[in-house]
């Protein structure tokens, strides 16, 4: 199978600030691919480039085999985009919004009628077709966005933070819909998110931090790179204990949010040894399986949310 998205050395700058730095990767056709990263990590810029909203600066990119510089119309024809900011006209009804979008993609007449009915049925919007969009809930609005994005049967669907503003039920709906589009119609789904638990549902995850690709693999493989178990220690002076752990037991621990975090195989045995080695110094110690957050910390040296605060 050919790659749906191919990026090589993609770099983008806003003046002095580098938003994307030498990004290279491939997304396979039919894949469910997630760009994970804190806000300011570069994923929104990447999204704008892929959605053809911004011109490429440096590097090469191709979507569905078409060059993102030259064959922009061919790409636009085959690309479905769901923006984070709602792209609906609130003064129009659900059906009018869909028909408006369809016209921009050359769909009219009988084809449009059939496609509209199909979208409304797929997204459970049939009984809402005549309602003004401004009267709909957030979850329903997102469904209309999806209907708009899928009306021309795109081969590649891009979604920017699609879960933002959705309640848990609507999120489940969204993921079911995306999985079905991929399974039944072979649509490649690429989305950005800052939600770790959401990224876990993807085939592969690319972690972007400060414009750079810091990790790219399946969720399980990423967790495996962290190694064994994750141990979190609460203590009075984490910096000092970190040094002592290194000196006495040869353990590398990061200080994260005033706590010590380390990854180690056979964590349960290490817990006993650590507590014995530093009597009275450990306020609490917990053992867990590594999460994507641990992966993120491992790859970037800082906590996920912390990155967001210090991002330029």
């Amino acid at each position: 199978m050919s790659a749906a998205v191919q990026l090589s050395n993609l770099t983008y700058r806003y003046g002095q600030r580098t938003a994307l730095d030498q990004l290279s990767l491939e997304i396979q056709t039919g894949e469910m691919f997630v760009f994970l990263g804190p806000n300011g990590g570069g994923k929104t810029t990447l999204f704008r480039l892929l959605s053809t909203l911004l011109n490429l600066q440096e590097g090469e990119a191709s979507l569905l085999g078409y060059d993102l510089r030259r064959d922009i119309t061919e790409i636009r024809l085959r690309l479905g985009v769901v923006f984070q900011a709602p792209s609906l006209d609130k003064k129009l009804t659900v059906s009018e919004n869909i028909r408006f979008q369809a016209a921009l993609y050359g769909l009219g007449g009988a084809t449009l009628k059939q496609r509209e009915a199909e979208m409304l049925a797929q997204l459970g919007l049939a009984d809402r077709a005549r309602e003004l969009v401004e009267t709909l809930s957030g979850g329903l609005k997102r469904r209309v966005e999806l209907a708009k994005g899928m009306i021309h049967h795109p081969q590649l669907l891009l979604l920017d933070e699609p879960s933002t503003g959705l309640d848990p039920g609507a999120r489940v709906d969204l993921w079911q819909y995306l999985s079905r589009m991929r399974r039944e119609f072979g649509v490649t789904v690429v989305l950005t998110t800052h939600l770790l638990e959401e990224a876990d549902k993807a085939d592969r995850i690319a972690i972007l931090n400060r414009g750079k690709l810091v990790a790219l693999d399946t969720p399980d493989a990423l967790r495996a790179t962290v190694g064994g178990d994750s141990i979190t220690i609460e203590t009075e002076d984490p910096v000092r204990l970190s040094g002592e752990l290194q000196a006495q037991l040869g353990l590398a621990a990061n200080v994260v949010d005033g706590r010590l975090r380390l990854e180690q195989a056979s964590g349960h045995e290490w817990i006993a040894r650590i507590v014995e080695a530093f009597p009275g110094r450990i306020a609490s110690i917990t053992l867990g399986k590594p999460t994507l957050e641990d992966v993120f910390i491992e790859k970037t040296g800082h906590r996920f949310w912390q990155a967001e605060e210090t991002a330029p």
């Binding site: 909203l53 011109n55 129009l92 050359g106 009219g108 797929q122 459970g124 049967h153 795109p154 819909y177």
Partner: protein
């Protein structure tokens, strides 16, 4: 909730995703008509816009017309009443207001996110601009025609042919003014900025178009301020649209300075073409500002 996951998908399966064979090519004219239709639907769903666009100019016309009735004299004969003189100007003001407010929606569309969805569509950029401009123009024209109908009842009388020509002129001027609105609105990120432009550029442009007072003639007795005003008004393309409309409603008296009728049409058409070209050009450039 389950509707999403379980609804029947036979339809979609039959047309199995966008394979090259079934790929639909964009049709620019379909996009134009849809964008145009959307403008019109939106306008009439916002009642306050309908009232605002026609109410204020009509109010101005009646109030100024009544107020200036005694003091206003054109030329030496003084046979043109202010209400009659001011009529074509009011018509242009209605076009201006409607066209401009129609294009303010670009700023809202950008802020609310709708515009980026349009910008990444495969239809050519000129079709997006033309749809918007045509929509704004048709709204403006409909308002202009309502005013025309009102005025015919009250005061002005004109032939059917003149009314038809006036409709054409209003359409062309509407294209020019809506395109001008697009040019102004395209790069603007707030509606406040648009209101500032309205006060310092658009209203002066209208005031200096001969809508409100005639272009001073360049006689021997003309002082420097009259000469300056004469040239400023001569360089204002709207002057020609107003004068063209005034010819058609028979409001031009012999001793009033006015550009030739043919020139009025030529300048109005050129104004429309240039403005539309400018709107197309500015909308065709991709910048970071397109994203929100």
């Amino acid at each position: 909730m389950s509707a999403l996951a379980t609804s029947n998908t036979k339809d979609h399966a039959a047309t199995k995703s966008a394979s090259p064979a079934t790929l639909v090519r964009p049709n620019p004219w379909l996009a134009v008509s849809m964008l145009c239709w959307r403008e019109i639907i939106r306008f009439f769903r916002q009642r306050n816009r309908v009232v605002g666009a026609i109410g204020q100019p009509v109010l101005f016309w009646l109030l100024f017309g009544a107020g200036f009735q005694r003091s206003f004299r054109v030329g030496e004969s003084g046979e043109t009443s202010f209400l009659a003189y001011y009529f074509p100007g009011t018509l242009m003001l209605i076009l201006l207001f409607t066209a401009i407010f129609a294009t303010i929606s670009i700023i809202e569309d950008r802020r609310e996110g709708l515009l980026q969805g349009v910008l990444i569509a495969p239809c050519p950029r000129w079709s997006m601009v033309l749809g918007k401009v045509l929509g704004g123009t048709l709204i403006a024209l409909s308002q202009g025609l309502i005013f025309l109908a009102l005025a015919l009842v009250i005061q002005v009388s004109m032939s059917v042919a003149a009314a038809l020509w006036l409709t054409v002129l209003m359409f062309v001027a509407g294209i020019a003014l809506t395109s001008l609105g697009v040019v102004i609105a395209w790069r603007m990120d707030s509606t406040q900025g648009f209101h500032a432009i309205m006060s310092v550029v658009l209203l002066p442009m209208w005031l200096l178009s001969g809508a409100f007072f005639p272009v001073p003639a360049l006689g021997a007795s003309a002082n420097w301020s009259e000469v300056a005003l004469h040239w400023v008004m001569l360089l204002n393309p709207l002057t020609y649209s107003v004068a063209g409309a005034r010819y058609l409603v028979g409001g031009v008296s012999g001793d009033m300075w006015s550009p030739a009728p043919a020139l009025c049409w030529v300048v109005t058409c050129v104004f429309a073409i240039v403005m539309f070209g400018a709107a197309w050009w500015i909308a065709g450039r991709r910048t970071t500002g397109d994203a929100i």
